[in-house]
């Protein structure tokens, strides 16, 4: 099936495009690359190809030398007497043992293929290097029948092809169709009615170019272009394997969007992603870009073997590198030499060596910030950090100043130590302790709300019993004898609780203290599992709550790893919490000698190690510096005379450090690359198995491709330079082909992922080369390249297809008509949001969760995963964003995306399917989000014009498809309007139900029956084939 299509197309193109473009004369001439190699590759190379391991009869047909080798008096391909070639005999013999390919392979040659092979051999059986491995040269623009039709170079190649096929291009599309098409293609959103009208009425000669420039300048451009890239790099918001927990990676996605918007030249775009970390003094943004090599799926499945996971991760990087930049299916060579392309297993593992030295644990630990990561403060956090760090520096300076200015003289007769109150151990203040797993609403609030300490306090409002808590803190809080636990609390005078409670987790939560009524019936009343401490404190002011650890059953040595803040009703704010150990009284001295004597007799000295070292030296043997150090420490920490002054400064310092740490914990992180200091050795892995190490290999590249450019380092940075080198035959071709595919629906090479021997031949090889060279000449200016594509006469054609063109070129590979195909999943949803007026145009940020049917995560998720439960976001800022921001759980992607052919983002995909299924129809009609957009479009229509139904119908239709309806279309719409109106008028209750879907309640001033009627009409136009297609 597939084969016939390819041959059919090849035949068509042979007649149509390639011959004249090659300038080679008669259409009947055989081209090795176009006609012969695909047959040999598909039918012969598996046994007679580059892989020695599986080569049969010691014969290889992938090289001329191999094919013409002397096989003992005869030749597969006889260089002297082609007619005597063994191949000819083997193609058609009746002897099943001799016939090639062997019948059991199930790959017989088609009669047409045999004819081609015979013709080729008769003409001498010449070989030609595979087309995509030959260097790119900029071809001359071919002559065309109607030079006036052409607008740029693209059109020369396309028109020449059409001339050869004796097809005429379509006329230019109407302005409305063109405005809609180009707006969707460059921004992924439809034009507004006003934008279309503006363009229609713009009589300037360069009106179209102006439109294109405006679209290219829109921030929506980057959002649209980025999503194609995200498919290729398999971007997701979860790890993708096993637990499939959340991972924080969206800054990388936002980097891509921004790169397109700022029109970062493609060479930088690629270099920074591949090797940003290896650039001299990389910026934070360049590090963010290196997330490219971290985007693959990861696991931390219990029982996994690290080495196996490490190998899988590296392979995934190479596979993506190969598909995306080389258009080669290098994956195959992971297990054995490639069967078709000249990539050996050694080549594969030599490339492996560029990507294997990530300085990280291959297991993701189920953590959102699987190291290495960079931390990315937002502007507010940046400002806060700057201020706090300044304050900290000032406090430290004040301490130093106080030390320097302290008046101290060693007394002749030291007095005995005095004991100061113990210091608090603060465990919770602005942030939770390390390792804490939080549950429930931890609403940290500052900015004018009551706060006792630091910047924020945590608030909870409840009806009945509710709580917020954490567990799993590491290290835990260790309880000593006579310890007192404390926390600060503020009860809302307007909404006081009936009871408040704190709980501490050791092995259980059965350590509870409460104040106020006894409504919460956990544990046993009057015991450590439910101990009443006292009445509720006075509302409207901060109160310190204290509980003796022993009262709630916490014995010395107990390890507290969790703390719960519980309440019955009301609004409660909590702040600074921790413990005090009354026995840890701090001894203070008025003499250094006295202090030293005291320290030296302690079983466990309290001075820091370095100070202790000095203490232990004999007084005479201390250097001046050491003496000074000793004195400074004494003054700051031990001297009774200045204790009060320093204690305050120390508290200030500790508080600032906690605040800085708290912000640090909240900073957005993103996965980046960090190279190990010493590269990890790489080995050939037999059969691709991680535990079958063969020979060690070093970084190198397949021989059939050019070497690294002179002076390039042999690392990922060098790899980037290699790709970008003009001598590289694949990179630029593969890249421009994807842009072409994006706009025209099918690539010039249809198999965008495979430019190797098994890939399809280009429909317009010279056009591909011309674009590849042009892109480089433009300085890798992506916006200019896109402009070139969409301003061509080729692109601007009307999309109508005649029966003849459909029969001659069903896939529109010759482009004798404008592109028309179903929009992608993201564009479909974004378009619906846009025409309804609901779309929130906000750039970047964490993934958002618009509603989806219940249970989709739960039915597949690991019960302990942090993405097992889907909770839809609320509020337009979250649910009406563009689809590129929709949270992507890779084991259960958003149904609105996957139903319309979005890949799951588990592996690299550079070409999406476009299917047409009933499940899509159901979604467009019934998905509450789609139906919600219909209602809002209906509201727009009802607010439009004077109230005449036909006028409104015209507006509705125009919003959807950028043109007013024709008379017969309007008649159909109007008839349907009357039907629906009758129906809903007769059943207002049903109408009311119809219009309540979505974020916003229906406007009260609209009659539900009328709104329901128009909602159905809006849904109708939003299901039109014309709406779903570009």
């Amino acid at each position: 099936m597939i084969r016939t299509t390819i041959i059919g197309l090849a035949g068509l193109l042979a007649a149509a495009v390639t011959a004249p473009a090659e300038g080679a004369g008669s259409a009947g001439e055989i081209s090795f690359n176009r006609d012969i190699r695909p047959i040999l590759s598909d039918k012969c190379f598996a046994c007679h190809g580059p892989d020695e391991e599986t080569r049969e009869a010691d014969l290889r047909l992938d090289t001329y030398e191999g094919a013409t080798a002397d096989l003992g008096g005869y030749f597969a391909l006889d260089p002297h007497d082609p007619a005597d070639s063994e191949i000819l005999f083997r193609l058609e013999t009746d002897d099943e043992d001799e016939l090639m390919p062997p019948p059991e392979t199930g790959k017989p040659l088609e009669p047409g293929e045999i004819a081609l092979l015979k013709k080729w051999i008769a003409a001498g059986g010449a070989y030609d290097p595979h087309w995509s491995f030959k260097p790119v040269a900029k071809p001359e623009l071919p002559p065309v029948s109607d030079p006036g039709w052409t607008r740029n170079g693209i059109d020369h190649f396309i028109r020449a092809g059409l001339d050869a096929a004796k097809l005429a291009p379509n006329a230019e599309a109407g302005r409305r169709a063109l405005a809609r098409r180009v707006t969707l293609d460059l921004t992924g959103l439809p034009p507004t009615v006003e934008e279309v009208r503006e363009f229609v009425n713009d009589s300037r000669p360069d009106a179209y170019e102006r439109l294109v420039d405006r679209l290219l300048a829109s921030p929506r451009f980057g959002e649209h272009m980025a999503r194609y890239w995200l498919d290729a790099v398999r971007y997701g918001d979860t790890h993708g394997l096993h637990l499939d927990n959340y991972r924080e990676f969206y800054p990388y996605r936002d980097w891509i969007i921004e790169a397109f918007n700022e029109n970062k030249p493609w060479d930088l775009f690629v270099t920074e992603q591949l090797a940003g970390d290896l650039l001299p003094e990389p910026t934070r943004e360049q590090l963010v870009a290196t997330g490219f090599n971290r985007a693959h799926v990861t696991t931390a499945e219990g029982g996994s073997i690290k080495e196996e996971v490490y190998v899988r991760n590296v392979k995934d990087r190479i596979d993506t590198f190969g598909t995306l930049f080389l258009g080669l299916t290098v994956t195959c060579a992971g297990c054995h030499n490639h069967k078709f392309d000249p990539v050996s297993q050694e080549d594969y593992y030599s490339m492996f060596a560029y990507f294997n030295s990530l300085d990280a644990d291959p297991m993701d630990g189920n953590k959102k910030d699987h190291a290495p990561v960079v931390k990315l403060p937002n502007p507010d956090q940046e400002a806060d950090l700057e201020r706090l760090r300044a304050e900290l520096a000032a406090t430290e300076a004040a301490i130093r100043e106080a030390v320097d200015g302290a008046e101290f003289r060693e007394p002749d007769e030291p007095s005995p130590p005095r004991f100061a109150d113990p210091e608090e151990v603060v465990w919770i203040d602005d942030a939770l302790p390390d390792g804490a797993r939080q549950t429930g609403p931890w609403n940290f609030e500052g900015d004018g709300a009551p706060v006792y300490s630091g910047q924020v306090a945590h608030r909870q409002s409840a009806e009945g019993v509710d709580q917020h808590f954490f567990d799993k803190a590491k290290p835990p809080l260790e309880i000593a004898a006579d310890d007192v636990l404390f926390a600060y609390v503020w009860l809302d005078p307007d909404d006081p609780p009936k009871q408040i409670m704190m709980q501490w987790f050791t092995r259980t939560w059965d350590q509870r203290a409460y104040w106020g009524e006894n409504n919460i019936d956990w544990g046993k009343d009057g015991s450590p599992s439910r101990r009443r401490i006292g009445d509720l404190p006075e509302a409207g002011q901060w109160t310190r709550l204290e509980v003796k650890a022993s009262e709630v059953g916490l014995k010395p040595g107990a390890k507290v790893s969790g703390w719960a803040f519980t309440q019955f009703g009301g609004t409660v704010r909590w702040d600074k919490a921790g413990k005090v150990s009354p026995n840890d009284k701090v001894p203070l001295f008025d003499s250094i000698a006295g202090w030293i004597a005291h320290e030296l007799q302690l079983e466990k000295p309290t001075a820091p190690a370095k100070v202790l070292e000095i203490i232990r030296k004999e007084p005479g043997k201390r250097t001046d510096g050491e003496e000074r150090r000793l004195r400074e420490h004494f003054i700051e920490h031990v001297f009774a005379g200045t204790r009060g002054q320093f204690r305050k400064l120390h508290e200030e310092k500790a508080s600032l450090e906690r605040q800085i740490a708290a912000i640090g914990k909240k900073l957005t992180t993103t996965l980046v690359w960090k190279e190990r200091a010493e590269p990890k050795p790489a080995y050939i892995l037999e059969r691709g198995e991680y535990d079958h190490k063969g020979e060690e290999v070093s970084r190198s590249l397949p021989e059939f491709l050019p070497p690294l450019p002179a002076g390039a380092p042999n690392d990922r940075l060098g790899l980037a330079q290699w790709l970008l080198d003009p001598a590289h035959p694949l990179f630029a071709r593969v890249t421009v082909n994807r842009f072409w595919q994006q706009v025209f629906g099918t690539g010039i090479v249809k198999t965008a992922e495979d430019f190797g021997l098994q890939g399809e031949q280009p429909s317009h090889p010279e056009l591909l080369d011309w674009l590849a060279v042009r892109y480089r000449e433009l300085g890798w200016d992506t916006k200019e390249l896109m402009k070139l594509l969409v301003t061509s006469a080729t692109y601007r054609q009307d999309a109508t297809v005649t029966a003849e063109k459909l029969a001659r070129d069903p896939g529109n590979r010759l482009v004798a008509r404008g592109p028309r195909f179903r929009l992608d999943a993201e564009t479909l949803r974004d378009q619906a949001l846009s025409v309804s007026g609901l779309l929130v145009e906000k750039l970047g940020g964490p993934g958002v969760k618009p509603p989806q049917p219940d249970g989709l995560w739960k039915t597949v998720g690991y019960s302990g995963s942090n993405t097992v439960k889907f909770t839809a976001d609320t509020g337009p800022e979250k649910v009406h964003r563009r689809s590129i921001y929709t949270f992507w759980k890779r084991t259960a992607p958003p149904p609105q995306m996957s139903i319309a052919d979005a890949p799951p983002r588990e592996s690299c995909v550079v070409r999406r399917e476009r299917t047409n299924t009933p499940l899509q129809a159901l979604m467009f009609m019934n998905d509450p989000q789609y139906f919600e957009t219909a209602r809002h479009l209906a509201e727009r229509a009802l607010g439009h014009g004077s109230g005449d139904a036909r006028e409104r119908l015209g507006f509705l239709f125009e919003c959807a498809v950028a043109r007013p309806p024709q008379a017969d279309e309007l008649a159909i719409l109007h008839e349907t309007y009357l039907d629906h109106a009758r129906e809903f008028a007769a059943d207002p209750e049903r109408a009311r139900k119809t219009v309540t879907v979505g974020e916003f309640p229906p406007p009260e001033d609209l009659d539900p029956a009328e709104l329901a009627t128009w909602t159905m009409l809006a849904s109708l136009v939003m299901n039109l084939d014309e709406f779903l297609n570009k």
């Binding site: 099936m1 597939i2 199930g106 993708g240 096993h242 696991t299 029982g303 690290k306 598909t323 299916t329 195959c332 297990c335 069967k339 078709f340 021997l757 098994q758 999309a799 029966a803 459909l806 069903p810 028309r820 179903r822 049917p853 597949v860 690991y862 302990g864 084991t891 259960a892 996957s898 139903i899 052919d901 799951p904 588990e906 299917t915 047409n916 299924t917 009933p918 499940l919 129809a921 159901l922 979604m923 009609m925 019934n926 509450p928 279309e969 159909i972 719409l973 349907t976 629906h980 129906e983 049903r990 009311r992 119809t994 159905m1016 849904s1019 109708l1020 084939d1025 014309e1026 779903l1028 297609n1029």
Partner: protein, 489 residues
């Protein structure tokens, strides 16, 4: 069915033939449109598969796969090892283990003590030498004469995610097409109103955290995405977005669709894009599904004895028993491939607590399904498969007592069973050593197993390929994966 709807369908059908694509004959149209449109056109044959498939007359027209996710303990259910009773708490001999790799959950254990099964086994008559089945599966014992129990399954993967992905898609890494997607692609659907490949995720009873499953297990991978499994859900709409929005009734939808068709037909006239024709047909298919799916999931016409046979859980949506009953209804309606994923089989510990619950979930219902199919004359052309992604170790993970123990992952041998179409009933195939640690006889690799499954459905797996990334991709991989002829009738 609503008579008005019937009338409209008839109208639509006539309309289609009369107007069939710009005056081209229906046959020519079909050729031009490809199968998409033809398949979806009302009144046409249901979605066809590939023209040269099946390769030969199939024994099975359809299959039902009961997937036990997490890896059931063969040692406590089917693989009877009486000699182990004397070796309680003795170390697994190195001669058996032979340095095979272990998961890192137990590789650091100081000892590998033998944990004999605490369950009583009984040898029940089948059509050969009988089959040993444990007391956990009283209903399965009753159908030993229907089952082909394969004790010698093996795989390379030792962790759940890669292993289950391997079994369901033929590769440990994500990105490949699932078994059901292959079948949909190759054989198409027999029912124009239902998808060819339906998936159900059943609830489970074990208390332990259940392993995740993944959309990719029924995904289409590199195949066109229309072949991906359609989830038949027990919560909300059985098929996503099946129900009209509240307040929109069936006649409202019909009215809207009539207008949509008229308008789309105008688009077809002006652009001539065959995809438009296909789209019109798909909207009609969607409309028909809105009737056929609720009819499918409506159990109110099932007699009381059905629920008695499948057990009390069968009335509860989402349970395995309910899914099994649904699978029979799907089979009756010609759905090519139904897969039920039942999770919770990962007994690293607490076999005594959790394994009986898991067995209870599936035992009676699986028996009822087999019996039900046989009584309806459908077992002869319906293949039923039961099994997980690997097995479990003889040695104990964690604390070993006479009353309880745990078992780690064991890929080197495990047990599954098949029944129905073309499979020898009442046999046990393959053997393992005394420790159920190594296959000693007739190993069956999971690729071979999938090859056999395809064979029963009339497909030569070597020749069933899809070109992707320059390769002829196969469900059964590149290495040889012989069909297990010994178990075929």
């Amino acid at each position: 069915m609503n008579p008005l709807h019937e009338h409209r369908l008839a109208l639509t059908r006539r309309h289609f033939f009369r107007q069939g694509g710009m005056g081209l004959g229906a046959a020519a149209l079909g050729h031009l449109l490809g199968q998409d449109a033809m398949a979806a056109a009302p009144g046409m044959k249901a979605a066809a598969g590939l023209p040269h498939l099946p390769h030969f007359a199939p024994k099975a027209k359809r299959a039902i796969y009961l997937f036990m996710s997490g890896a059931p303990s063969q040692l406590d259910m089917f693989d009877y090892k009486p000699k182990m009773a004397d070796l309680f708490d003795e170390d697994l001999p190195e001669s058996i283990r032979q340095g095979q790799r272990l998961t890192t959950m137990t590789s650091k254990q100081k000892r590998f003590p033998v944990a004999p099964s605490m369950y009583a086994f009984e040898k029940v008559a089948n059509n050969a030498d009988g089959a040993w089945i444990s007391e956990l599966l009283p209903y399965t014992k009753k159908m030993a004469k229907d089952l082909c129990i394969i004790k010698s399954m093996h795989t390379e993967a030792i962790n759940h995610d890669p292993a289950i992905t391997y079994f369901c898609t033929g590769d440990q890494l994500p990105g490949k097409a699932s078994l059901g997607a292959w079948l949909s692609y190759g054989l198409g659907s027999e029912n124009e109103n239902l998808p060819a490949f339906v998936v159900m995720n059943a609830t489970w009873s074990a208390k332990r955290d259940a392993q995740a499953i993944y959309n990719r297990l029924w995904g289409s991978g590199f195949l066109p995405s229309k072949h991906q499994g359609v989830l038949l859900r027990s919560q909300g709409d059985p098929v996503l977005f099946l129900s009209n929005p509240e307040g929109v009734e069936r006649n409202t939808r019909r009215r809207m669709l009539d207008a949509l068709e008229k308008l789309n037909r105008k688009t077809l006239e002006s652009f001539g894009d065959p995809e438009t024709q296909a789209r019109i047909a798909q909207y009609e298919m969607a409309f028909r599904m809105q009737a056929s799916v609720p009819e499918l999931t409506d159990l109110s016409q099932e007699p009381e004895r059905t629920f008695e046979a499948y057990g009390p859980d069968s009335r509860k949506p989402g349970t395995f028993a309910n899914c099994a009953l649904m699978a029979r209804r799907l089979a009756e309606r010609g759905v090519r491939f139904t897969q039920i994923f039942h999770r919770g089989w990962d007994q690293h510990g607490n076999i005594a607590g959790d394994l009986p619950l898991q067995c209870r979930d599936v035992d009676q219902a699986a028996h009822a399904l087999i019996t039900d199919l046989r009584e309806r004359g459908m077992l002869e052309d319906t293949l039923v498969v039961w099994g997980g992604e690997f097995g479990r170790t003889i040695y104990c993970q964690g604390k070993l007592t006479r009353e309880n123990y745990g078992r780690d992952h064991h890929p080197r041998n495990f047990t599954i069973w098949m029944a129905g179409a073309g499979v020898k009933p009442g046999i046990v195939y393959g053997e393992t050593d005394d420790f159920s640690y190594n296959v000693t006889e007739n190993p069956v690799h999971i690729h071979s197993f999938n090859a056999t499954l395809l064979h029963l459905l009339g497909i030569n797996h070597r020749q069933f390929t899809f070109k992707h990334q320059g390769l002829d991709q196969r469900l059964t991989g590149v290495e040889s994966a012989p069909v297990v002829k010994d178990i075929l009738l």
